[in-house]
Assembly symmetry: C2
């Protein structure tokens, strides 16, 4: 097992050679969705980014354990301050159903959308509510080692104490002084030693539905503690890669680092990777701006900001056209261009099978393949990889035009190259809509029926009989009626 | 909200009028799969049976909370004795992966197959490992009330003690004396007071991976306790319906009743429903008999016992052709007959839109609809419902033949009837294979291209030009080459 992969480590802010802890295994933990509403573009980007990483490492023959969690408790409305109502519980109240019914509904939508985007299932998809004991155990350790304190049934992480020994804010680059001056005291925060301390365990108010017994109170875990508990449970005290969206760097990942470091006396994560954000027509995506687009809306075109529907593969292709660390701006123009680009790529893949072969070849597939690997190894540079694949598209078209020549072994290697990079690693796939085929099929049969009628009108009965017979062979029966012709498929 | 539904209650062994606890709500708990291998026919039957119940109650406008669990810990190899290795942990050892990777893999397959069978997602799908705390709390109550005892770090349910006050075995009809004489003492059972006592908590051996801290030991819950804990958590101390396969009656449901009754002092479940078993060519399905068929194998035809592939809707239709309390024998002949029956039904649905309407009608749709409801109300008698729907099929065909007449309102009612019962309640759906359409589309285009060539050969150039033009309109481009004709779709 070896690799030439270089990863940009958000923690060191440098590109680093990727060296897994165990020679043939890779452990990856990625922050998944909080399941209280439909999946949107902001969910698609990390899913596709780390799917690419998962696919590439698997292609390199690593045994990859890819853990992506489901947050189904503890994510409060104001995530910076860690205050407000639980997002899932709020939705449950609005819809008058059980919090776990909310969870089930939006986990289902998320899974459906991720399938449509052709992202592979993670190896393990742990849920916060499924690991309350593990979180309680972690909190106990933090209290025992003095990094957390109980106050009125809740438990908080003591950032000042932690910062004496370790450095709080090293991932996001925030310094504690800045936090101290920025965060004002808020009502109800007085049970904390410092207003920037974050909750590990919250005592539940009497009407709160999602609650579990603990040594401190009937309550629920804070948002950040689940990821520290679950990553270590499934990947070990130290593991290779932790990923997520850039918006999670502060406070979520910063708090994760503090929790794990305080509990284990060492850092858990070797490489931190963060995908950048998405804008829509240059603006931040926000419900208040009316540009909040769910994946279902994108795929159906059912949103005022959309000129048409965009297929899952158009979205995937579009995201891969940008490097994961660049911002990505959605617009109808950009999506339409991506749609064309994707179709061009798929058409070349199809043409590849029908190329006219020559005795010799003017094409260097080996060189092209090397370049493709180089692009991936350079911090998963998918846009550069795509540009190399479009060099492959140019080659295919040149062979068709006759300006380049390809021999049989060349064709085999070029096909293998497209298979590996387009389908296996980039995770694109052909999109043939059964619905369109059904409509086209009907149109074609109608056209043939009309041709037969024309032949009859010209009294070419041998032609019309032959047409009926041929259609019959394809399972289509023509029935002449007084008022026209009917047909039926088997 | 009202209903005329009669349900066969396995507990009373009688058909009973269904009266929900709360007038407009229904709570259903169904035992789901233990996720350590591919889903098979034995999983499909309860899923389809209780999907029918869920759909019918929803159709009747009840707000239904349908809970179906995932067993991901504690189901041991010998389920009658409650001994042996944990099924998931064993599979993990064999495949050299984490137990939770086994769970993820087979949950994914199960969900995929259930989607293919068009079963609706349950409202909540709780997992045993996600409710360890709830199980521990229940065990504490049982110990405190004297119905359970700790022994060497494990906790067992005291059946003799329970039987003094309540009746153990009332669901399955087993009497305690029989159990006492049948179960011989087994090695390692000596920590139990009686060999038929069942485990609520098992102390984990040092090498056991799936383990949680508890007041008694680091260990894991027994198989039966999860369902008592999760049903009460999500449906309340008393709820309407508990379902599952007949094979679960003993010991699983018997133990559930004992746990819940002992803890709550009353029975939780108002109606117990059990689907009957499946045989294959008259034999029990078993891996050792080589007749163990997974759903993936059924859908692909990839099993020596299968003469062909059977589509998910063929399987669903086949299962609905039998009443859920009857045994059901799988054979190629029976499946092929089901396939034909299903196609006949779908064809009638299609023809319904093209019926020739008359001024008056010879058909009584209202009567037919009443009969359909009567069949469902009679303990979900789906085979009788299907026979009424085939009376509908006969009507459609008679109208086509001209032996019966239908008017416009009649057609509307008949369409509504098919929509309600075939699609909404029985959960059948049309199966148009995109793949077949794709092939047919290609064949049809080739046929048209050939017709154009024939026209050219006959020097009917107006015809050949028109064909090219018409194809163009449908998005198909014809390219004449020296060696023949190529075509391309948009």
């Amino acid at each position: 097992m070896q690799n030439n992969l270089i990863i940009y480590n958000t923690l060191s802010k440098k590109k680093e050679r990727f060296k897994p802890i165990h020679p043939s295994f890779v452990g990856i933990y990625v922050c998944g969705p909080t399941v209280y509403s439909d999946a949107h573009l902001g969910h698609a980007r990390p899913a596709i980014t780390f799917d690419l990483l998962f696919r590439y490492l698997t292609h390199l023959k690593y045994k990859v354990r890819y853990v992506r969690n489901i947050t189904d408790v503890g994510h409060l409305e104001n995530e910076t301050l860690g205050e407000g109502e639980d997002r899932i519980e709020k939705k449950a109240r609005q819809e008058q159903i059980e919090p776990m019914e909310v969870v089930q509904k939006y986990v289902n939508t998320y899974h459906k959308n991720m399938d449509q985007l052709n992202t592979l299932s993670p190896s393990i998809e742990p849920r916060a509510t499924g690991h309350i004991i593990e979180q309680i155990e972690l909190i106990k350790i933090l209290i025992n080692s003095g990094y957390a304190y109980e106050s009125n049934g809740s438990v908080y992480f003591d950032i000042l104490k932690y910062n004496k020994k370790y450095q709080y804010g090293k991932l996001s680059g925030r310094v504690l002084d800045e936090l101290i001056s920025n965060i004002r005291d808020i009502e109800g925060q007085d049970e904390k030693r410092n207003s920037f301390d974050f909750a590990l365990w919250k005592k539940a108010s009497p009407e709160h539905l999602m609650r579990w017994p603990s040594p401190w109170s009937d309550g629920f875990p804070g948002w950040h503690v689940e990821c520290s508990a679950m990553s270590v449970k499934y990947l070990g005290e130290e593991f290779d890669i932790h990923g997520g969206g850039m918006d999670l760097m502060f406070p979520h990942h910063e708090c994760e680092i503090a929790q794990s470091t305080a509990a284990l006396g060492k850092e858990s994560v070797h490489y931190w990777m963060h995908n950048n954000m998405i804008t829509i027509n240059g603006q931040k995506m926000a419900r208040s701006l009316g540009n909040f687009i769910t994946l279902d809306q994108l795929f159906s075109g059912d949103h005022p900001a959309l000129e048409q529907a965009y297929s899952p593969m158009t979205i995937r292709f579009f995201m891969l056209q940008a490097h994961y660390r660049s911002t990505l701006d959605f617009s109808n123009e950009a999506l339409q261009a991506a749609e064309k680009g994707f179709q061009k790529l798929m058409k070349a893949v199809e043409s590849l099978n029908k190329l006219k072969l020559s005795e010799n070849s003017t094409i260097d597939v080996i060189k092209l393949k090397e370049k493709c690997y180089e692009a991936l190894d350079d911090d998963l540079n998918s846009p550069v990889l795509l540009s190399h694949l479009f060099e492959g598209v140019r080659i295919v078209n040149s062979v068709i035009d006759g300006t380049e020549k390809i021999d049989a072994p060349g064709q085999v290697s070029l096909k293998a190259l497209f298979n590996t990079f387009v389908f296996e690693i980039l995770g694109l796939k052909e999109e043939k809509s059964g619905k369109n085929d059904e409509k086209l099929t009907g149109d074609l049969i109608n056209m043939i029926v009309k041709l037969r009628q024309d032949a009859k009108n010209r009294k070419e009965f041998d032609v019309s009989d032959k047409i009926r017979l041929e259609l019959n062979k394809l399972g289509v029966t023509i029935k002449d009626r007084k008022d026209g012709v009917d047909w039926e498929r088997e």
